[in-house]
C-alpha cells in the first residue's frame, strides 16, 4: 500500500501541513494521557489546541491568495479622494473638448463613482478564506482563558496535596478514602463482595 509512490507523494508533498497537524495533535494527545506532571499535561493540551488551529488555518489557504484584507483597488475607502480628484479633472477636460470622451475616461469615472463594489468570483479567489481565521482567532483567546482556569486548578491541587504529580495525587486521594468510613457506602458493599467472589470463581 505504501509502495505506491502516489500515496506517499500525496501525503508528504501535497498535504505536508495536514501531516504535521496530525503529528502535533498526537504529541499533544499522548502528553495529555501519559505524562504524569499536571503542567506537562497542560502544555500537551495547548499543543493539541494549536494543532487543530493549524488545521483550520490550512483549510483557509488558497493558492496565490493574499491576506484577507482588501488590496488598494478593492478597498472601499482606498482611492476615494484620488478618484474624486480624477473625476473633476475628467469633467474639466470633458467641458473643453466634448468629443474626446474616450471609453477609458468613462470607465474610470464609473469606477470612481461606486468604489465599494461586490467582487467577482475570480477576484474572491485572490484572498484567503476569512471564515476559518475568525473562528480560530476567538478560539485562541478563549483557549488562553481556559488555560488560566486549568492552571488555577493545578495550583489549588498543589495547595491541597503538596504535589502536582498525578500518581502522588491519586495515591493521596486513595489513602484518604481508605482512612475515612462513610456509612452511605455500606449499601454498595455487597455488590463489591459479589464482584470479588466472581473474580475468585474465575480464578
Amino acid at each position: 500500500m505504501f509502495g505506491e509512490d502516489g500515496l506517499l507523494n500525496e501525503l508528504l508533498v501535497e498535504r505536508f501541513n495536514y501531516c504535521v497537524y496530525v503529528v502535533l495533535l498526537l504529541i499533544g494527545l499522548y502528553a495529555m494521557i501519559a505524562k504524569n506532571n499536571l503542567i506537562k499535561k497542560l502544555i500537551g493540551m495547548s499543543i493539541f489546541q494549536t494543532a487543530i488551529i493549524l488545521f483550520y488555518v490550512s483549510i483557509g489557504v488558497k493558492e496565490g491568495g493574499t491576506i484577507p484584507i482588501y488590496v488598494a483597488e478593492h478597498d472601499p475607502h482606498g482611492h476615494h479622494a484620488e478618484h474624486a480628484a480624477h473625476r473633476e479633472e475628467a469633467n474639466a477636460t470633458e467641458a473643453t473638448e466634448e468629443n474626446a470622451t474616450t471609453a477609458a475616461v468613462s470607465n474610470e469615472e464609473d469606477h470612481g463613482h461606486h468604489a465599494p463594489r461586490s467582487l467577482t468570483d475570480e477576484e474572491t479567489f485572490g484572498y484567503a478564506n476569512p471564515l476559518p481565521h475568525v473562528l480560530m482567532l476567538t478560539a485562541i483567546v478563549v483557549g488562553v482563558a481556559t488555560l488560566g482556569v486549568a492552571l488555577a486548578l493545578t495550583q489549588r491541587i498543589y495547595r491541597a496535596f503538596g504535589t502536582i504529580e498525578e500518581d502522588d495525587v491519586l495515591a493521596a486521594i486513595r489513602a484518604e478514602d481508605a482512612s475515612t468510613v462513610i456509612p452511605d457506602l455500606l449499601s454498595t458493599k455487597p455488590k463489591r463482595v459479589k464482584a470479588t467472589q466472581r473474580k475468585a470463581k474465575k480464578a
Binding site: 498535504r15 501531516c19 484584507i69 472601499p76 465599494p116 467582487l119 468570483d121 477576484e123 476567538t138 495550583q155
Partner: protein, 252 residues
C-alpha cells in the same frame, strides 16, 4: 499506562492520516471551504455591506457578532472562575502554607524598572493603535486587549503586584470586564430598540450622522472596545491570581 496511551495515539493517528489523504490539495481553489457561497459572500460583499477593508474584523464583529459576544462572555466567566478557585479569604489567607520565600520584600531592580517605565507608554499606545486600527490592518479588540493587559502584567513583573493593583485593582478589573460585555450587549440592544434585530448595527444610522454601511463600521469599533475592556481586565485578573496563589500580595 504509557503503552495504552501510545496504542491509542497511534490508532487515532492512523485514522487521521487515512482521512488526510481525502482532503483537497494544498491551496485548492475549488476545495469545499473555499468554494462555499458563505466564504465567497464574505469576501465579495464585506466592502459593500460594511466598508471595512479587513474582512476578518467584519466577519468577527458584524456577521458573527453574536458568536463573538458569547466568546467574550466565556472569557469573563473564566476570569471569575479563577478568582473563585484561588481567592482565599479570612483565616485561610494567613495560613503559613501559602507563604513563600519571595514574599520577603525586596528592592525592585533599578535597570528593570527604568526600562519598564520607558516601555509601558509605548506598549499602551500600541494597544490603542491595534484596537482602533483593527478595521484596516490586522488587529482588533482581542489583540489590543491582550497587549493592554500585558502592559499591566509587565508592571506587576517589574515591581510587584500591589504596584500594579494601584493602577488596576482586581475588583475593578472584574467590574471593567463586566462593563466590556455591557458595552457589547448595549450596542446590540440599541440597534434592537431602533427597530432592527439584536446586533443589527445598520439601524444605528438613525442616531449616527452616517450611512447604514458606515454605521456598521463605527459600531464594530464600539463592540471591539467592549471586547478589549473585557480581555484587558480578565488577563490582568488571571495573572494577579495565578502569580500570588490568590493572595494578591507580593511579587511573582
Amino acid at each position: 499506562m504509557k503503552k495504552v496511551a501510545l496504542a491509542v495515539t497511534l490508532f487515532i493517528g492512523a485514522l487521521l492520516l487515512y482521512a488526510a489523504k481525502d482532503f483537497s490539495a494544498w491551496g485548492d481553489l475549488q476545495s469545499p471551504a473555499s468554494a462555499s457561497p458563505v466564504s465567497k459572500h464574505f469576501i465579495a460583499d464585506t466592502g459593500v455591506d460594511t466598508e471595512v477593508p479587513n474582512m476578518v474584523t467584519a466577519v468577527l464583529a458584524d456577521y458573527r457578532g453574536f458568536d463573538t459576544m458569547f466568546e467574550t462572555v466565556v472569557i469573563f466567566i473564566a476570569g471569575i472562575a479563577i478568582i473563585a478557585i484561588l481567592r482565599c479569604t479570612g483565616a485561610d489567607a494567613d495560613s503559613p502554607a501559602l507563604e513563600r520565600e519571595s514574599d520577603v520584600a525586596t528592592e525592585p531592580d533599578l535597570i528593570v524598572t527604568n526600562t519598564v517605565r520607558l516601555l509601558i507608554p509605548v506598549i499602551q499606545l500600541f494597544a490603542f493603535y491595534v484596537l482602533a486600527h483593527g478595521h484596516v490592518s490586522p488587529g482588533g479588540g482581542f489583540q489590543g486587549g491582550v497587549i493592554m493587559g500585558a502592559s499591566f502584567i509587565l508592571v506587576a513583573l517589574a515591581w510587584d503586584l500591589p504596584k500594579a493593583m494601584e493602577r488596576l485593582s482586581v475588583d475593578r478589573a472584574v467590574m471593567l470586564a463586566g462593563v466590556g460585555i455591557l458595552i457589547y450587549a448595549g450596542i446590540g440592544l440599541l440597534s434592537m430598540l431602533l427597530g432592527g434585530e439584536f446586533l443589527d448595527y445598520a439601524e444605528l444610522s438613525h442616531v449616527l450622522p452616517v450611512s447604514p454601511e458606515m454605521a456598521r463600521y463605527h459600531a464594530m469599533l464600539g463592540v471591539e472596545i467592549g471586547v478589549a475592556f473585557t480581555v484587558t481586565a480578565v488577563m490582568f485578573a488571571i495573572y494577579a491570581n495565578l502569580s500570588t496563589r490568590g493572595r494578591l500580595a507580593g511579587g511573582l
